[in-house]
Symmetry: D2
Subunit: 381 residues, 4 copies
Amino acid sequence: MPAAQPIMGINPAMRRAWLAHNTGHALDATSHTAFADEDVRANIENLVGAVEVPLGIAGPLRVNGTYAKGSFYVPLATTEGTLVSTYQYGMRAISEAGGANAYVLGDALDIAPCFVLADARAAIALADWLGAHLADLQAIAAESTAHGRLLDVRPHVFGRRVFAQCVFSTGDAMGMNMVNLAVDRICRHVVAAVPCERFYLRCNYSSDKKPAAINLFRPYGKEVAIDLTMPGEVVRSHLGVSPRELVDFSATGRLGSIQAGALGTNAHFANGLAAIFIACGQDVAQIVNASIGFLDLELVGDDDVYVAARLPNLVVATVGGGTALPTQRECLELLGCVGDGTARKFAEIVGAALVAGELAICAALANGRFIEAHRQNRRQG
Amino acid sequence: MPAAQPIMGINPAMRRAWLAHNTGHALDATSHTAFADEDVRANIENLVGAVEVPLGIAGPLRVNGTYAKGSFYVPLATTEGTLVSTYQYGMRAISEAGGANAYVLGDALDIAPCFVLADARAAIALADWLGAHLADLQAIAAESTAHGRLLDVRPHVFGRRVFAQCVFSTGDAMGMNMVNLAVDRICRHVVAAVPCERFYLRCNYSSDKKPAAINLFRPYGKEVAIDLTMPGEVVRSHLGVSPRELVDFSATGRLGSIQAGALGTNAHFANGLAAIFIACGQDVAQIVNASIGFLDLELVGDDDVYVAARLPNLVVATVGGGTALPTQRECLELLGCVGDGTARKFAEIVGAALVAGELAICAALANGRFIEAHRQNRRQG
Amino acid sequence: MPAAQPIMGINPAMRRAWLAHNTGHALDATSHTAFADEDVRANIENLVGAVEVPLGIAGPLRVNGTYAKGSFYVPLATTEGTLVSTYQYGMRAISEAGGANAYVLGDALDIAPCFVLADARAAIALADWLGAHLADLQAIAAESTAHGRLLDVRPHVFGRRVFAQCVFSTGDAMGMNMVNLAVDRICRHVVAAVPCERFYLRCNYSSDKKPAAINLFRPYGKEVAIDLTMPGEVVRSHLGVSPRELVDFSATGRLGSIQAGALGTNAHFANGLAAIFIACGQDVAQIVNASIGFLDLELVGDDDVYVAARLPNLVVATVGGGTALPTQRECLELLGCVGDGTARKFAEIVGAALVAGELAICAALANGRFIEAHRQNRRQG
Amino acid sequence: MPAAQPIMGINPAMRRAWLAHNTGHALDATSHTAFADEDVRANIENLVGAVEVPLGIAGPLRVNGTYAKGSFYVPLATTEGTLVSTYQYGMRAISEAGGANAYVLGDALDIAPCFVLADARAAIALADWLGAHLADLQAIAAESTAHGRLLDVRPHVFGRRVFAQCVFSTGDAMGMNMVNLAVDRICRHVVAAVPCERFYLRCNYSSDKKPAAINLFRPYGKEVAIDLTMPGEVVRSHLGVSPRELVDFSATGRLGSIQAGALGTNAHFANGLAAIFIACGQDVAQIVNASIGFLDLELVGDDDVYVAARLPNLVVATVGGGTALPTQRECLELLGCVGDGTARKFAEIVGAALVAGELAICAALANGRFIEAHRQNRRQG
């Protein structure tokens, strides 16, 4: 078999033509896009067009956050039937209960370069050096980025290696690029000052886009807390289940998570995350981290359900990445999340939306209407 | 604050108009789509249009699989600059090394309903009963789906609960809907035969779209193995790094994963998964499971690098879900993955593509050109 | 500094004299033992004497097991004040509630040799070969041990490696020695039949004496289930707390475990395990595995507490190891666990005792008397 | 079946007589002890005597630590044949290589009481309050213990709960009792100042004696690092294997750990821990935490092996607990670990001993003599 050729072409049309010629498959539908080629220069290489993901809206969702205050219509891009209606169902219940409280508990992004030295003695010495030179490293970071700020460097020593967690605040941007750049400069400064055998800019310790235990314990992106108390009558009328039944299901679901050795415990944070992240131009692979979170329900008072969620890894942005593309921009605008200082607002809305999805699916599994709901949507579209 | 209104409108245009009127935000860009409203009836509710995700192509990628044989141009839908070029870089190296071997080690999907009984004695009895009645349960499953097949029911007893892992083969479909339906019927049969306090169709034990230890140990979707041996000269010329340097980085990355308590060990499976899954109409939330996998590099022979990957949770489909939408269909066609018996082929291509992304990023981190590569792409688009 | 000398001496007395001479520290107290040197020849090398661990008794503990039926006085060897009284407190509550039900859900021990081959293709072929030759491998195992029986070989392929889980039943013995010997023979047979680059008898995959996710999912030693329903009045009078308070604490403890990323969920299985394992001549390092387990409490009926535990990794024995030493033998006799077929009985008693410890500590933390209980024991001894 | 009676008797002899009368089993061997009843009053309740665990000595082990400097003879109490000789074998190799370097990277113990409030808003407010009142809380802690010192309080908020990690230094004592007492006072102070629905002194978040992801990330007890470089000739002559073979085995063992989802990666830290902890009067259940650690081997230089270990959870003590009992005291004396400031020294010795055990078992598995070594010991005793 002769080797296949690399893709030729200096623009999308030429690449499509080349692919059609060489593979026999035309890319017609993908050629129709609302964005110009130059609009996405920083977003992609080898551009041939666009994939269209259906967009639905769920809402209104009432959020009582520090940054997000009011009712929101949440854009969800998905091809999985019932997803939008599930979230809408839960949003209605939350809104009827007065809304979900939302808090940003933490806001930081880190990467952990690894410095390899001669032995543990040298590694410990470097760890000490890093602690003593934080201000210098902060100054170096400040030279390479105006938006990011180096908050801390936390060395973790294993043998002759120092994994140096460099923790940044990144504002409204997702910030990975600025963090990479700043830490690269920091690393070059470090190895000039302290002789190392070698260093790597990254080495998995931060567990970016990877599920790891470390994701349970430190804010990665925005750490969001959500809670609300749902009156029994709202549970019954809007979730179609009694408080007791809902909490009983939740207890079994928690046992299921524990027996399965889950990182976190929730039913399907990932569904809402994927749909919102695609709609709003986020880095979709970040749902791997972001879906590691905790939901808990408990009976309180006479007949109410207390709902709590913790999402320690919500890596979101309202500038940069795909947020400026035409369709994605419209989705962010719909949420009022364009402009300075909107990333935390966006994170709070996302958190509240995810809780809506949890309540809806828990109710459907508790009252046995899960299949019915899926069937109905399938018929109605 | 008065309560916000639920979304009104019987079609996308009306919904957009309603939203514009009520929120002040128009959804213009999203209104241009290649699909008709009725095309996505089973895919979404409250449709208002489409989000466009830029599509790039990486390749050719040579795959020597059981099902995928040949060179492939892989569609990647993303807004993250450098992603496509990273994968392309790795694909070239793999192709120059003769291609990646690919194997489907397992193929199954399960959900685990939970039956709640009076006590452990009754739960153990039900577990025994399920084992003794597998043929009956298989017959019931067969009534509700022609495509899925119940392979096994594996009861897991905790106290008075039986988590009954119902394992299906689902062919080319992702299969969750058929599995849900079949298991719902199975559950109703079970509780008619064996009195239970209650049952839940699902309860987190399967860890669908959630990271959990159980995902390391059983095929969920397609379990794919990839391996290849890269000659030293290919490593040097196409990855810009010596075999020793590449493997040294890999060792540090593996330590990073271990120190972070990672589930699996890889650098960024999630990136390729997200981009391919969006492009090809997959259930994007499944990347949470699918990204739990293992990559390992070792020096072999005089100067070669042996590369191995295991992806136990590749939940993919070539029919159903978003696979029939116009742009997504074109992407699957480009891979020759439309039609009967193509899901395993698709899984093998995905697996090989992910390995390409690993090699490229490991090389860039090993040779210190990670930042340079990102900068260059940013300039060139 | 001159190199220290290796220990000299052909018997304990000479070794003690040598140590006293060379280090200045006599080992007088340790020289008094109930066992003769030759009694422990198979148990230890470089013997110098014995360490004495204080032995207390808790009970009676009523167990309604398949193998353990009746009330038991449980020997606990510990130096941690309050431990014995805590277990006794819980045992009384269990006994007053009519006893703990106990079941052996599984009984097996495995080790997983690793075969390294040329590539994944060869590894998959070996995995198939192992499946096709199970009967042969069982025959080989049978030649090396009369007590152990090879139940299954489960190959796990990663790249060019096959981790071959060899699962045995080991009867009343812990069985690791017989399993090692039998698997060594199996491995030599395998590599004679199928060329391998190399093999290792063991390689961590079995996670013997190491905490790992795999320990959640397969019996390792005896898998024991315990349950009972505690009437509200027993909870109140014997645990000093209301059912609601007890279950409320349990819910918070469960959240604590989940937030901490625990493997399993329990309060202090390890305490009872350590004390019983030392007393009864078990392999004490096995408490690492054995302590990975699950405890759950829930309110049932009007006012009762349902208690469930699952202990999937109870590696215990009533023959071999330290079980025949004089003091250890007496402890096993006290439980009626000497002689054929007593290992499962012993496992059931251990499981019930651990649940007693859980109930007692949960009650003490729920009612705020934890400190008071510790103080009181400290005074009374 | 009539209910069994609680154990009667005001001293060990009476209890033994009572048990003999009621169960038919005498406890003769256990009645011979080197300690008087009053010596163990704080260590145990319902005392009936002592269990004797055979004691062997391995060494000399050369340690180049910050606190442990010199060659040590390590006491190991075990009933598992080959354990002592395995550790001795590794200790000789380490000593021939010039000794193991040892460092105490951290030294702290924490428990995490849980405060339950009305909602997340109140929980966040309490978290802030705790941060603002650290000095007050330190003063309260200081009133209840002269040896422990409250270093920090780190609140972790989930919903309406605050898990408040109270971090102490505990000196030479294990310290759990002093920490429990001090935190109980702290809690009572907190709830007097900030109204809470309730609080629990402990709730599993600290994962004391339980395997959890949190144990990877913070010192719990002493965090010890060990490293050394073994010259190739020492590896060959004292471990009977080439550096390449040793490191190759290590790579497969690491893959085994990763595939099994291990917390940490090592071969059998637990064995050495159990044996030393029993010998030296430690809290044996702590081996569950302490065995969560990391070992890594790599080829360095021309022909050498670099060995690194990290043990983040070595909860050890040289005062309190069982350390003053006659036989245990002798074992600590043999190590020179009696008296002020010896706990870190002890921790360094333990860490080095564990690494010895790793090297020995890795070598035996790498060179295929594992079974032979076990057989030989069995014969020779």
